[in-house]
Subunit: 376 residues, 2 copies
């Protein structure tokens, strides 16, 4: 027992919903075998059973046919492979029923290998030149369909208003209306020009999500154009792409949650705070966008708080990452959100800035309100 | 109107489940805007609205608060970018509620650009030397935790028994017990040796799912070792990896559904036959593994039939791909499944071969049964 405890294991908490007559202990055991050897217990040698098969640590009733189980795995199964991490914790059992991945306890060596954010909150603050205790502001460059010139003009207006980070809408990739290279060069130039005019320090983060063969090339092109960060949708291109891009091109990573909602089922899936707050963070995201409560999407206030906590909380040597609530935040309500979420937040304001006549003026007034509120 | 019809659009059918008081037409319109411009209708110029915003083509009641809507998109938004395809059809709306992606009508130019399977059913049959009208047999190499030597021995036993394709369990990546290079070289050698002994034509498909930087290298290493195909889990590494590996290394692709179950919610998600039967196929999978009805997983018989139909059905110039039902198929029942699914199927038999004393003998008897049944 003491020898076992010396080996740190990846401990995964699942909330099980049992169908009529389904035994929670058998269901937990099934996870332990399905996610490792994919064989019934009788066909696994004692040696492999001891080393590789998951261990059911606890099974506790939660009432209402629900149970909480902790299954632990040898973290060596993962190595430093993020695809395999996702596969181990939810791959095959995604195709079963009544299994919610609710929590992960991370062994230190695994965290050390995965690395997490390269910049993190402090690094991004430094990059954005925001030492004062205020949240950062992020604007969305949109819509798809505009020319590179028109998008650059919007970038200029937002940057002149003092928006810290202007990010591409995640649907802007390499379409004909604004091809990647042209868009990135013009938008970055527009932001640089605005910074010169205002003495500010705004940044443009282009979306590099795309074909495997193009992603690194695009991030490198962005870096050469002067961008210090990029946007990527990890679930569209694999979690591993986050760290791969960060390492290859030395850029900060803002992660977009596209496709994540597929997993947000209450009874079967991955809890949003685990997927966006932990898996996206350990993969190396410096900032993670999520759909804020009360906007166009469906997360609860408690879930948003939990995502913030997981992104910013202590996690051994892994740096904290910025939560980026978005998806319909009203600029007028940002002060309220600062009270709720605190200053280590990036507020993503899209439509509600575009709804105002003068984008620069709207951005400027928003920044002033944020500054006043953060000082107060 | 006539001009519109000449432009082929990507037509996506969603099944909407409306909450109390929710208007299905407004819900369909919301999809059209959310998936393209991410702005309210009032803030989009007429030009962008006409070119880029999705068009709600139809909204029809299905009863029980459900509606069927077709939203069409300009296929130029996708280009040849599979990440963007997934983003367009389900990215942001994954985070809403009551939206099931039920069907896709593919414009020919888009299919031409995406390409689909490089080998397809005919190519894989040719590769496996199976001209006779019988299904192919696939065995799973397992479990994780065995040494490369022990895995190679199992490969040899399965190949000697005439299994057409021995594929890695999808949890075998590059772990210490059987590092990738060592495993692939020994397993491929074992299969080559078995072929020499029997005059057969078995193949070994190693799992190359892994870090972006390693995947192509592993596939290339596999090809050099003599492998003609590989296993990949597209949802762990991005759909685009499928075609990228096929093109870079000239290997056939067997796709594994790991993580896919996250989307298989009846009211909100992506229908399994669309995800595994269409998206995996257009991405370039030559064969697609899915969890067969009656095994360890939860798909219905009708869904399995639908997956088979989508993988094999006509789709302009896109080659048909092999359905690979697995996940607990009993070797003894394979003849029944041949009656149901037809001969253009690869049956993946894992645990039920391992349950027998002599693997080679079990495989041989299975192949004989399949041959007898296919002739009959």
């Amino acid at each position: 027992m003491s020898a076992d405890r010396a080996v740190e294991r990846l401990r995964v908490t699942y909330r099980l919903t049992c169908a009529d007559g389904e035994d929670p202990v058998a269901k937990a055991q099934d996870i332990a075998y399905e996610q490792t050897v994919e064989l019934p217990a009788g066909h696994v040698s004692p040696d492999v059973a001891a080393r590789i098969v998951g261990r059911v640590e606890t099974v506790e009733p939660l009432g209402d046919s629900c149970w909480r189980t902790v299954v632990s795995f040898d973290e060596g199964i993962v190595g430093d492979d993020l695809a395999q991490l996702l596969n181990l914790v939810f791959g095959n059992i995604s195709m079963k029923a009544g299994i919610l991945l609710a929590e992960i306890d991370w062994p230190k060596p695994l965290l050390g290998r995965l690395g997490g954010p390269r910049f993190g909150i402090e690094g991004l603050r430094w990059m954005a030149g925001v030492r004062e205790r205020r949240p950062l502001l992020c604007g969305a460059l949109k819509p798809l369909g505009l020319s590179a010139d028109r998008l650059a003009q919007i970038c200029h207006e937002l940057a002149r208003g003092g928006i810290d980070i202007v990010k591409d809408d995640h649907s802007l990739v390499d379409q004909g209306a604004a091809p990647f290279r042209e868009r990135v060069e013009r938008c970055q130039d527009a932001v640089t020009r605005a910074n010169r005019e205002t003495g500010g320090n705004s940044h443009y983060f282009p979306n590099v999500t795309g074909p495997v063969s193009a992603m690194c090339e695009r991030a490198e092109l962005a870096r050469r154009a002067g961008c210090r960060g990029v946007l990527v949708s990890p679930l569209l291109v694999g979690l591993d792409a986050v760290g791969a891009l960060a390492d290859a091109c030395n850029v900060a990573i803002m992660a977009h949650p596209s496709l994540a909602g597929g997993f947000f089922n209450e009874r079967h899936g991955i809890a949003p705070e685990v997927l966006l707050g932990e898996l996206f963070r350990v993969a190396g995201s410096d900032a993670v966008i999520y759909p804020n409560v009360g906007g166009r999407f469906t997360l609860s206030a408690a879930t948003c708080d939990a995502i913030n906590a997981r992104l910013r909380g202590p996690l051994d040597t892994v740096k904290p990452a910025f939560p980026v609530p978005g998806g319909g935040i009203d600029a007028a309500r940002v002060p309220e959100w600062i009270d709720r979420y605190g200053v280590d937040t990036i507020f993503l304001i899209g439509g509600s800035l575009y709804a105002q006549r003068d984008l620069t003026d709207a951005a400027r007034r928003l920044l002033q309100a944020v500054r006043r509120h953060s000082d107060g």
